[in-house]
Symmetry: C2
Subunit: 188 residues, 2 copies
């Protein structure tokens, strides 16, 4: 038996909500989109309560969206942030957003887990904006993995700005919605 | 413009070297395969000097192989370990190797970076065997991201056994080979 092609796709509903090129100006507007991606992922039953987006800094143009796709695509690596990075790099044709000639930022409905924080460093974004906190996720038994205060400091020391707690309540409410619906905690 | 399908594939040469089902008994034999995957990835010019494999514990049957594919596929998330996890889960049709009814282990030619260590936790493997060390990678200016002694302790506390330094010299020699050939340091 040979090795498969692993195809990473977004659910169909994403494009109407988050068409590439859509402009969001403020951090709050960008986060509102990330949170809406997380909520619609729960409502459509297409994955865990996490959404993310990559924007061009300055223009605020949306480059790519991502939603948690672990269960839908049977792939433990497909957190919302990872999917957003993959989509952004596929669209721009580069393996680092640093080489794309513009500055980019990640906006995510929940603080990145250990995997996504590592990927953030490799992605080439220069800024990360987060909604719900690690504690909000932990309250639902979503483990965030080995992320320590030094982890954020490590990224900051490499020039990545990290902003925490933007629209935290709205973002956290989607985690609660997922729990209330009995959604699977796939990495508890 | 719509979102693409991101297709994750292995280079064609991998299957002949690492056919699924191949049995490796000892840690050294498993590591020899991971190191050979890393070396052939350099020799074929298909990516960075990193190879990984997922085995069934007990039987030693190979489930999946992975090689660093960051530059080849323009995707910062495709380290060797990540590709091996994706291939294993696609072959077994599950998002956690814990749910596959057997115990699995990751064998990797170099200590996992922060991203891959996080993914190791989500993958469901119960054991990780590493060749070259973080310091070996750093010597070539490959950053490993925010991995601290507590990071390994975090995984161990969750029942994951971590074995370091198996065939370290052989694994490290492939990193040197890559540097000697002037291979790109894509996350330096």
């Amino acid at each position: 038996m040979s090795f498969p092609t692993v195809a990473v796709t977004l659910p169909e509903w994403v494009e109407a909500l988050a068409p590439p090129g859509r402009v969001c100006v403020s951090d709050e507007e960008k986060m509102r989109l990330a949170v809406e991606l997380s909520r619609q992922n729960v409502v459509h039953g297409t994955g865990g309560p996490f959404g993310a987006a990559v924007f061009e800094r300055g223009s605020g143009r949306l480059v790519a969206a991502g939603v948690n796709s672990v269960v839908r695509l049977n792939n433990c690596t497909l957190h919302g942030e990872m999917v957003a990075f993959m989509m952004a790099q596929a669209r721009l044709g580069c393996f680092s957003l640093k080489s794309a000639g513009t500055a980019y930022e990640l906006v995510t409905s929940c603080e990145p887990c250990a995997m996504c924080l590592g990927a953030t460093l490799w992605s080439g974004v220069s800024r990360v904006v987060c909604g719900a906190t690690r504690d909000d996720a932990l309250r639902l038994n979503f483990d965030e993995g080995p992320v320590f205060p030094e982890s954020h400091a490590y990224l900051r020391a490499r020039g990545i700005e990290i902003v925490l707690g933007v629209l935290r309540q709205e973002a956290s409410a989607v985690l609660e919605l997922y729990a209330a619906r009995g959604g699977p905690i796939y990495n508890g």
